[in-house]
């Protein structure tokens, strides 16, 4: 027996490159002059990201690689599922890096540390998506979260930033503690710490006495909490609006897209691979939580007056739509391989589309924030007059989030998740979601309408900051990238659908 597991470095290259890039950024930061620190940090980060992206793409066209294997399974699997997420995370990172340029300068955040922490957080995500044992998942989740706490608090002379970080942190550690306790109980029930071992043991559920099954069910729920917190599912969502509001906007975008996607990666791995035997237990829970999440998120979003908080509640609501397909496990018919595959495909598709449109929305908010730091919805009145392209792009993202043309991508995404739900016989959930899209539209559209309406007479006299002076290349690039992707997904979403379908094979692999 070898003393150390053999490692396929090609398989783990993406996270290694990103984590390494973080170290390089930090080191380089020490040696370059004050003036060029931001540029260097951005350039190195972007280079590392693109390199990792290239590697991941290369891995995606090649065969599935597994490494760090145990007798009953491998800790790290670079399969379609993992690579789907890795490419998603890295693409998101590209846009987040673009959006960060403005914020790092404006809020005078330390560029080296900022970029390093961001890269490390992403490296945790990359590992998370590929990790196939509980310990790896948990540690990776911490690697995702821990730098994020710091990033949220990095606007160091703003008390709101620190407050946001503290809330995020406390909520996160309590959730982690619950997850850890759940893992411990699960270990007690099954005697295994690897996912495959646990899955096998849970699959032999009929062999357990009732009390043991009850404990296992409780443990399953507790384990899921840590990830449900990441995706901001109700009632694990409380941190979300406060944290987003206090965080730098780019980091809020990062949390709402990448971090949430990471949570879903973990949820999918756990629920579909580890806890498949208890699908009848978590299925109804997920279905109910999905319904509650989308409803609460949408209802509260109705009453928002500030853009970031509005988007925060909207991400809560969107988490509900993302969870909905997994709710098919609530019905006996929905627990078949086919239905779960459809469900996973739906969630993955929605995630990809959501990433583009939500990131786009945050990118627009970043651009708007340069002119209106308060980011009140009323501030953007008449934006279509002063910055027509920005207004059109923002409207595109908002309608996509609402699921309406011209944001056809969002509409497809809604169709896909609803299709999975209806196909899996949770029609009631689909109806709830249908009603929720109406509530959602109410607030998305309010913002869009305000932009396209002329300024009210009483505010018309107030000086509108000059549009051109506040234009920012990197931010505009971020908006543009998101817009292009959203439009592409609107016209021809087939590649994403196909790819999500491949990635969702995880759901049927026993």
């Amino acid at each position: 027996m070898r003393l150390i597991q053999s490692i396929d470095y090609a398989a783990i290259a993406p996270p290694m490159i990103v984590a390494g890039a973080g170290v390089v950024v930090l080191v380089a930061d020490l040696f370059v002059g004050r003036a060029s620190r931001r540029a260097v940090a951005f350039g190195l980060s972007m280079a590392g990201t693109l390199a990792a992206l290239g590697t991941a793409a290369w891995l995606a066209v090649g065969p599935t690689r597994r490494t760090l294997c145990l007798p009953d399974g491998c800790s790290y699997v670079a399969d379609d599922f993992a690579l789907f997420f890795q490419l998603l995370f890295l693409s998101v990172l590209v846009v987040v890096l673009l959006l960060s340029v403005a914020g790092v300068a404006q809020d005078r955040m330390p560029p080296g540390e900022y970029h390093a922490l961001l890269l490390w957080s992403v490296s945790g995500m990359l590992v998370l998506a590929a990790a196939r044992d509980l310990l790896g998942l948990l540690v990776a989740l911490e690697v995702v979260s821990l730098p994020a706490f710091v990033l949220v608090g990095l606007r160091r002379d703003d008390a709101r930033s620190a407050e946001a970080a503290l809330k995020f942190f406390l909520f996160s550690v309590v959730a982690t503690a619950l997850t850890a306790y759940g893992i411990a109980l699960l270990y007690g029930v099954t005697g295994h710490i690897t996912l495959t071992g646990i899955a096998d043991a849970l699959g032999r559920r009929h062999a357990h006495p009732g009390a043991m099954s009850a404990l296992a069910a409780a443990a399953v729920v507790l384990v899921v909490v840590g990830f449900a917190f990441k995706v901001s599912a109700v009632p694990f969502h409380f941190w979300t609006p406060d944290t987003y509001e206090g965080a730098p906007v780019a980091i809020a975008a990062f949390l709402s897209v990448a971090s949430k996607a990471a949570g879903f990666a973990g949820l999918l791995i756990l629920l579909l691979q580890g806890f498949r035997g208890y699908a009848d237990v978590w299925g109804p829970v997920v279905a109910v939580l999905a319904a509650v999440t989308m409803t609460v998120g949408n209802l509260v979003a109705l009453r928002q007056w500030q853009l970031v908080r509005l988007l925060a509640w909207s991400t809560v609501a969107q988490a509900g739509y993302l969870l909905m397909p997994l709710g098919v496990a609530a019905t006996a018919g929905g627990r078949s391989d086919h239905e779960l595959h459809l469900a996973a495909q739906a969630t993955l598709t929605y995630l990809a589309v959501y990433a583009a449109m939500n990131l786009g929305a945050f990118a627009c908010v970043t651009a708007i924030g340069r002119r209106f730091p308060r980011l009140a919805i009323n501030d953007v009145r008449g934006l279509a007059r002063t910055s027509p392209l920005l207004a059109v792009a923002f409207a595109l993202f908002l309608t996509a989030l609402a699921g309406l043309p011209p944001g056809v991508a969002g509409l497809f995404a809604k169709v896909v998740v609803l299709r999975a739900a209806v196909h899996g016989h949770v029609t009631w959930l689909a109806v709830v979601a249908a009603v929720n899209t109406v509530i959602g539209l109410a607030y998305y559209l309010r913002v869009a309408a305000v932009m396209f309406n002329d300024p009210d007479s009483e505010t018309a006299g107030a000086s509108i900051p000059d549009a051109t002076r506040h234009r920012h290349v990197a931010t505009s690039a971020g908006v543009a990238v998101a817009a292009v992707v959203t439009v592409l997904l609107s016209v021809y979403p087939q590649p994403i659908l196909d790819w999500a379908s491949h990635a969702a094979t995880l759901a049927v692999a026993h």
């Binding site: 027996m1 070898r2 003393l3 150390i4 597991q5 490692i7 984590a19 170290v23 930090l26 760090l68 145990l70 800790s75 790290y76 005078r108 955040m109 330390p110 540390e113 390093a116 922490l117 490390w120 957080s121 490296s123 945790g124 590992v127 990790a131 044992d133 310990l135 790896g136 948990l138 540690v139 990776a140 911490e142 690697v143 821990l146 730098p147 706490f149 710091v150 608090g153 990095l154 160091r156 970080a165 306790y181 109980l185 007690g188 029930v189 006495p209 009390a211 043991m212 009850a214 404990l215 409780a218």
Partner: protein
């Protein structure tokens, strides 16, 4: 009822009692000291359960590092050193209910599930440094590597947040 039961029971009492004092002490410094007692008691429990390495790590990292860090933290934030009501929030009754419910639910679940289960501490694989080191590097390399990034990030993060100038 064996000797191990008795020893574990006593250690458990100490641990639990100290834990209760951790969350009820009127003084943060006292709370930190009670935390030392509680975590120490746990280290004893680990020893009874033949997890030697974990026990020593518990003592070294928790008592040696974490609690010291907390004491520093408490002092740096000029937390009330004396007896002050303000250590507890108005959420206390709710907290008590939630805590009792949590303990009750979890306790009932585990007790009913593991009724009569018995740990034969004489035939367990002893968790010494060698056994655990082997396990980590043979089976858990991925978390290990991830943990290195975690610690690095924690280090950098803690520094960047507390450093005054940029």
């Amino acid at each position: 009822m064996t000797g191990a039961d008795v020893v574990f029971g006593l250690l458990g009492l100490v641990t639990f009692g100290a834990a209760v004092l951790v969350v009820t002490a009127r003084n943060v410094i006292h709370a930190a000291l009670w935390l030392v007692v509680s975590l120490g008691g746990l280290a004893g429990c680990y020893l009874v359960l033949t997890a030697e390495f974990v026990a020593w790590v518990q003592v070294l990292i928790y008592i040696g590092a974490v609690v010291v860090l907390m004491l520093f933290g408490a002092m740096l934030t000029r937390a009330p050193i004396g007896h002050l009501q303000e250590l507890d929030s108005r959420n206390r009754p709710v907290a008590a209910v939630a805590a009792l419910a949590t303990a009750g639910v979890l306790g009932t679940l585990v007790v009913t599930a593991f009724k009569g289960a018995y740990v034969d501490i004489h035939h367990t694989a002893i968790g010494d440094g060698r056994a655990l080191g082997g396990a980590v590097f043979r089976y858990f390399v991925l978390p290990f590597e991830a943990a290195s990034v975690l610690l690095l990030a924690a280090l950098v993060g803690a520094i960047v947040l507390t450093r005054r100038e940029i």
